[in-house]
Structure formats: C-alpha cells, structure tokens
Amino acid sequence: MGMTLVEKILARATGQPAVKAGDVVEPHVDLAMSHENAALVLNQFQEIYQGTGLEARVWDPDRIAIIFDHRVPAESSKTATNQKKVRDFVSKQGIGKFHDIRGDEGGICHQILPENGYVRPGAVVVGTDSHTTSHGALGAFAFGIGATEMASVWALGRVLNVEVPGTIKVEVHGDFHPYVLPKDLILYLIGKISAQGANFKVIEFHGPAIKKISTSGRLTICNMSVEAGATAGIVPGDAETVRYLNDDAGVKGRIEILQPDAEAIYDRVIQIDASAMDPQVACPHTVDNVKPVQEVVGKQVNQIVIGSCTNGRLDDIRIAAQILEGKKVARNVRMLVFPASARIYRQALQDGYLLSLMNAGAVVMNSGCGPCLGVHQGALADGDVALATTNRNFKGRMGNPAAEVFLCSPAVAAASALTGKITDPRKGA
C-alpha cells in the first residue's frame, strides 16, 4: 500500500515500516520551536517535574529553537519580564537555536527557521504557533501545538498521541499571470474549501505550477494552509528545495528528499488551473470570505500593511518597491512595511527597495510580527479599513474589533497604496 508524504515521514519518525491515516503514533521530534510563549512553556515544563525528584532538563537543547518575534522590542514591562525569564532559561539549559531581539539575526520564527537551515525535508517540526505549517514548504511535517504540549515535547522528545492525518492532494497546473502570486493561490484554495475544509488533514501540493514557485512562495502557501483548518501543508522536496537550503540557508552536505508513493491514498484530490486565476482578496471577518479583486476594487482603505511570516520576504518587498518606485502613497493612507527577518531587512536595504518604499511614503518598521496580531504597533481606529498581506482578518485581529481587515498579495497591497482604494495591480495604479 502506498503512503502519502506525511505517512512516510511519520513512519520514519516512529521507526515503523508503514503507518496509515488514523493510526496513533508518538513521533520523535527533529525541531521544537517556540516564541515569546516559551514563557508559558517553561512554566508548564517545570510543573511536569514537580514531585518527581528528577532535574528539569530539556531532552535535547540543540533541537529546541526559541525566537522572540511577537512583541519586539518589548511593548510592555510584562512582556520584557517574560522575555527575560526565557533568556535565563535558554542560558541555563544551553538551548542552541535562540534568536533574541537583534538586527543581525532576529526576525519572525517562521522565517528564521528556514533561512538558517534548521528545517530539512522529511523532518518532524512542532511549534507553539499555528503558522508552524509554513515549514512544510521544505518538505517537512510541521504543525502547531499548544504550550503544554510543547512542555511535554521538551521533556520527552516526542509528541504523544498524534493521529496520523489524512491528506488532501492539491494539483496546480498552468502559468500564473504577472501580478498573480502564490498568496492568491492559497487565498483561492481557502475560499474554495472553506476555513474548515481541511480540518485535521494535511494538504500536499503538487503540479507543474508548484514546481515553478520559489521556496519563498511555498512558505506563503504552507503558512496559510492552517487557515483552511489543515494540520499541515507540505510541498514535496525538489531541486528548488535543495537550491534554497544550499544557496540561501547555507546548509552543507547532501540533502535527502522524501517523496510520497505514486499509489498513496488521498482523501480528496483538487485540481486548480493557475492561468485562470485572478488576484484574490479575503474580506472581513473570515479568511475564507475570498473574492477576486475586481469584485472589491474601489473600497477605501486607511492602512496598508506589507509584511509578516506570510508575505514579508525579499520578493514581496521587491514587488511592492517596484510598484511604488518614483510614486507616492495616497495622502489618506498609512503604509507600514515590516520585513520578516533582519536578514531580509538588510538585503532589502542593500538592494534599495526600502529607500524606494520610504520615498513613496511608507514607514519601514523593525522585523517581527509588528501589526499582524494587534498587540504592538499599527493599531487601527474604530471604523478603519486595513489591507494587509498578513494571514488573518478575524474581528479584532489588528487590535480593534470595530475595524475591518482585508487580506491580499503584496502586489494588490502596493497598487492600492497608490490610490487609497483596493486596486487591481494588473490595471496599474
């Protein structure tokens, strides 16, 4: 019997010849990632050891990654104190993959892991963040867990009681039009299958159009798979994966790639023609309220946000800079740009993109989660409308339940910044 990619990964991580959807397994973890919520994880971790007489030591400090990104630099003394507790824990336990608030190696966790080569094809990755699905872009099985579950992983090195998920296969054919981006593909898919269309399932991406998408775009697609409810999104590794790991992430040596079997059993197969796709916009207040951009053009916006773990990478910033080069952001709009990592920030600086954006009137912020989750910066006024390249538009997501958030690609966001209204980038601004 054939196995899907995730079945193969879980068979390997449990030392079994085969597993199938529905089996309960306890896979070994290759990488366990947390951000500021490590403060809660370490609280729960210490509780596990209470009364055992054992010393509380993590199972493998080299397999734990902690990245400060959600509220950097700290927005409150409470956050700062939590960060301090985590820092102390990191140094006491000797945790190797720690990224503090720094302009050389900091950034958003879902960018830091790939760009440092921490994630490999075939790995089992867990993170205390729902968008841990991002790392499926490198052919890993990566999924979000809660803080208590992470504490259990820190203690045991395995995730307990994992039900092997069924898999939905998505095949994408055709060529994308210019200004139709990977973000549009994933928004389109979420609109088609709904916010719970992939609940408890993995989405495996295939087809010639996926092969042509760079790792950056694959990260966007896998990142938002969770918005369809998916446990994970995954792109089987290929030549692009090896190129990214060797050239961009500096990984030395051979990279082994796992592939699903040809006879793998899928719950469902979905075919998508990329050449028929328009730029997409997710309208308030659910991510699956997706419409082609032409149905919402003209909607007035107050704030444009380009950034986040979804679309804050160099190609996203580049396309925005190209659209805005030599032009001005409309007077009635605030435009915020936050690169996903310090590395991307510096590259965008060297390449002149940030200068183009600033000359146009955009505010460039430090890398981190910034306005994405509404705790820190860029809060919205009552009645404000935001157009963002982030991944969630739930009521209150950007800090104000009396505001609206629309989601789109960086091309739609940049074109709309010039007019102050939602604009189709294909028509020019």
């Binding site: 596990i48 956050t79 205390t128 579950e149 719970q196 609940n199 969630r392």
Partner: protein, 164 residues
Amino acid sequence: MTKVVLKLGDDVSTDIIYPGRFMATVLPTETPQYIFADLVDFNRRVKNQDIAPQSVIVAGNNFGCGSSREQAASCLKGPDFIVIARDFARIFLQNSINLGLNTIICPDIEADEGDELKISATQVLNLTSGKNFKVVPLPQARQAIIDAGGLIPYTRQRLLQTKK
C-alpha cells in the same frame, strides 16, 4: 443539569476568545480575566463571578480556529466552563484536552441561552426544548490524557516510566 450562558456561531476564533492584545498574560491563573474581552457584558459577568461553574457555552462549527494560544483554553478552564460545539479546530481541541477543559463535540446541537441541558457521555438532552443530541466520543488516545488528569500528569507518568 446545567445552563447555557452563551451562544455563539461558526468559526469563533481564538482572537475572539482571548484577544491577542492580552497575550503577554500567560499563566492559567491570570487568563480568565480577559475571556471574550470584546464581549464586554459576558466578560464582566465572568469577572464578577455571576456565572455558576459547569455552565455551558454553545457554538457552531470550527470553534477555536486560528492561533495556537493556550490562553484561549485556559481562560475557559479557570471558570470551569463546558464548551459544546458542532466541531472544534484541531489545536484548540488538543489544548483543551491537555488542560482538562471539558469540550463536547455535538454535531447537531441546538440550544439557546437560558436553556437547561443534561449532559452524559453519549448525548446532550436539551430539557427546555425536549430534544436529544448525539455526542461524538473523543478518540481513545485523547481519552487517555483526560483520564490521567491532563497532559502534565500524563507526561509526568511517562517520564517516570522512561527514567526507571
């Protein structure tokens, strides 16, 4: 017998249950004060302890979608709510089980605020409407965590076994 104190629709996200702006607060003992912070009246009733333990929140599909923040489960666990939904989002459901929050999957549930319910392992009886609704049992693997009293004691047991 227990009472429905809040009725919600589909796709209630963790941003609604526990807004991101309170995420700096992490300890389960402190999170209940921010429960449904933007449903101001409900939040006030919880804070004033106007709601009896074991009261029920009823929701539609995909309850707890969005962020993996565990505060969304711990803020409900503190005041001892029971959550009955047609269906839950994965991470929220797992967090609830790990913390011992009582979550009941009841795909056809119909109940309004004020309704009295009688809950058993296999069904929810709405005493107000007289209707009966089937409960979907949790997978066995999850039941084992509940039986141990949550994931912390469960992991502790496993740890002691492996170190022996």
